[in-house]
């Protein structure tokens, strides 16, 4: 009996010793999935017991980015093996972001997380990190160096497809639609709209009769929506590239006594509130903020030798009308991006009323 116990303990210990060191590595969000054909990361596990992570952020210019950074910091604090997290913010200046990455390389951090401000401008600096043997995790927007460790990106076209599919069904495959776009020339807006045109290609009876750029903002969106609705008071549907513009447009319809036609929104708290209060026919495509959090997890998986694919895409399903209550937070402000992994007290500190 005693012998059996000793043997068993011994086997367990041996198993522990030779078993994969990554058994404790955190798991990625299941909404992230490897791109078809993406290779697995092929780096040996770090021999270190604790890690210094560097994060080069392009800016905290809007609440989406603020929340993304907070979620990243929160995740890093959950893992005692991360001894230090160094965050540099380039204030929207890609030139400074190049220097920030170079500075993180000079400090010899164990992994570099990057939320890039340009697809091409950082490539030189990211190649330097690779040459220095530092894993690089690119997330939330793309950069295109030849060598990198992991990418976590969103398919922005999916945001457009989710909205367009909803509209096509709500309109029974027939009708005139106006489009509220984001910032002219912005790649995210272009990709979202590309998704819309892809879907509508299958519905020849749905026509986008006019569009305007509301810069994703409430006030500009309101002006653009007003002028579009004056020109086309009889449209049957509205596609929007962002929730704040949809909020504004719903108010324009109400103020002008027009019927509440189907319109697409976005998964932020302000839009969900309007959706609920006005009883809109809508859908809320999701552009997740938790890239930063997933970036930390990806870095840990790489450093601990746990399996992870090189290229990953996130495509969370859109929020549907009967799911609003699962996401809407009446106790938080309009600027909150729903589905955050942040603890309640932090959310209340950021968005509390």
């Amino acid at each position: 009996m005693m012998l059996k116990k000793i043997l068993l303990t011994g086997t367990m210990l041996a198993g522990f010793a030779i078993g994969p060191a990554f058994a404790d590595a955190p798991e990625l969000n299941p909404a992230l999935s490897p791109v078809a054909g993406a290779p697995m990361v092929d780096l040996p596990a770090s021999t270190k017991q604790s890690f210094v992570l560097g994060f080069s952020n392009i800016s905290v210019v809007n609440t989406w980015r603020v929340q993304m950074v907070e979620e990243l910091k929160n995740e890093a604090a959950l893992h005692p093996e991360i001894s230090q997290l160094i965050i540099s913010d380039a204030g929207g200046d890609v030139n400074r972001q190049v220097a920030d990455i170079e500075s993180l390389i000079a400090r010899g951090v164990d992994a570099i997380l990057v939320s890039p401000g340009s697809e091409v401008a950082l490539n030189g600096a990211l190649e330097k990190a690779h040459a220095a043997g530092i894993p690089t995790i690119i997330f939330s927007s793309n950069a295109t160096p030849e060598h990198y460790t992991v990418k976590l990106l969103a398919d922005d076209a999916q945001f457009g497809r989710d909205g367009a599919k909803f509209l096509a069904e709500a309109l029974g495959g027939k009708g005139n639609v106006i489009a509220l776009r984001g910032i002219s020339g912005n790649s995210i807006d272009n990709d979202r709209f590309r998704g819309v045109t892809e879907v509508f290609a299958d519905y020849p009876d749905i026509r986008i009769i006019d569009q305007g750029f509301g810069d994703w903002a409430y006030d500009k969106g309101k002006q653009v929506c007003e002028s579009l609705l004056i020109a086309h008071p009889d449209v049957q549907g509205i596609w929007s590239s962002g929730g704040a513009m949809t909020q504004a447009c719903a108010e324009v319809l109400e103020e002008n006594g027009l019927p509440m036609i189907p319109m697409t929104g976005e998964a932020n708290n302000g839009f969900l509130r309007t959706w609920k209060e006005k009883g809109l026919q809508s859908v809320a495509p999701v552009s997740p903020t938790w890239f930063g959090q997933q970036g930390v997890i990806a870095a840990l998986r790489v450093l601990e030798g746990a399996p992870i694919a090189r290229d990953n895409l996130v495509n969370p399903p859109p929020i549907l009308g009967d799911q609003i209550d699962g996401f809407y937070r009446a106790d938080l402000g309009d600027a909150y991006w729903v589905g955050s992994p942040l603890p309640d007290e932090k959310l209340k500190e950021l968005y509390g009323k």
């Binding site: 204030g91 030139n95 190049v98 170079e102 340009s118 091409v120 020339g185 912005n186």
Partner: protein, 311 residues
């Protein structure tokens, strides 16, 4: 008497760079104590390399400020330059230089011929040139010629080539301002255009040359930036206008004209950069960084002696 005044002016000019130099030294020592990484050779080289473009732009800005002018359009010229240089067309670089000189010419014409205030004139060209840059390259991208990429990565005596050439540009501009007839006329024009005119200085020509040089230096900054980023970006220069003015003032060049030099403003750029870099290394949040920067700018500029005669 005349000689005495000239030497006083020369001393003042040298002194104008003193406060920012002292601040830079204090900051460097403070950061060196607070974080062992701040003063590592690699970190310092990184900062110099990152700031080379802004230093070039600031040299041009200083020349205009010495005439009691101001050039808000430099940022748009930087953007326009990267937009043009990142297109795969023959003579992209000479074309970018010509476009920049055209902006300088328009600025000087508006100010001299139509009597438009430099702030309004360059604000107008800033807006128009920004539009042009967006027209030429609506979204960031493109690529620069191979020689520009090699230039950005080249090293000489262990220092990046862009850093060496920028230092050379500062040196030459500094010499031209303090030791040439042009420099003397520049100061005279800024200190008192009427007296300068009476003294036989062709102030109109000096102002024209100043705005051409400002656009040219902005173009050089833009080319350096395009090489570093290996691409063009229609908005990348936007912060350069305000940043170059802040660095110029911080460097002891009076915005009322006629007093200052380029060494101080170049040190001003490095001060602001080292401050941002150091606060990052110390893990101080971006929000606090902005507050600290604004407060230090006021403090530093008030440390200068102002309202003194230039010549």
């Amino acid at each position: 008497m005349k000689l005495a005044r000239a030497t006083t002016a020369a001393r003042l000019r040298r002194l104008s760079a003193l406060p920012v130099m002292v601040l830079l030294a204090i900051l460097a020592i403070g950061l060196g104590i607070a974080s062992p990484h701040a003063l590592s050779a690699q970190n310092l080289i990184n900062i110099l390399n990152q700031q080379a473009s802004l230093i070039l732009v600031t040299v041009g800005q200083t020349i205009v400020v010495l005439t009691a002018g101001l050039d808000l359009s430099v940022g748009s010229v930087v953007s326009l330059t990267t937009a043009i240089a990142s297109h795969d067309i023959p003579f992209a670089v000479p074309l970018a230089v010509l476009a920049a000189l055209a902006v300088g010419l328009v600025n000087a014409t508006g100010i001299l011929k139509f009597g438009i205030h430099p702030i309004l004139m360059t604000l107008s060209t800033m807006t128009a040139v920004q539009g042009l840059a967006l027209l030429i390259r609506p979204i960031p991208g493109g690529t620069v010629p191979d020689w520009m990429r090699s230039y950005a990565g080249a090293e000489l005596f262990g220092l990046p080539l862009p850093v060496i050439l920028t230092a050379l540009a500062v040196l030459i501009a500094g010499m031209a301002i303090s030791h040439s007839r042009f420099g003397l006329h520049l100061m005279a024009t800024g200190a008192s255009p009427q007296s300068a005119l009476l003294g036989g200085v062709n102030t109109g020509r000096i102002i024209l040359v100043a705005y051409l040089l400002s656009s040219l230096f902005a173009c050089l900054g833009g080319l350096n930036l395009a090489a570093r980023l290996a691409s063009g970006d229609p908005l990348v220069g936007a912060p350069f206008g305000i940043d170059s003015i802040a660095a110029t003032a911080l460097g002891g060049t009076q915005l009322s004209g006629g007093l200052g030099g380029v060494a101080g403003p170049a040190a001003g750029v490095l001060f602001l950069a080292l401050l941002g870099n150091g606060l990052n290394l110390l893990n101080i949040s971006t929000y606090y960084q902005m507050i600290i920067k604004g407060a230090l700018l006021i403090l530093a500029v008030s440390a200068h002696r102002r309202n003194q005669p230039g010549l």
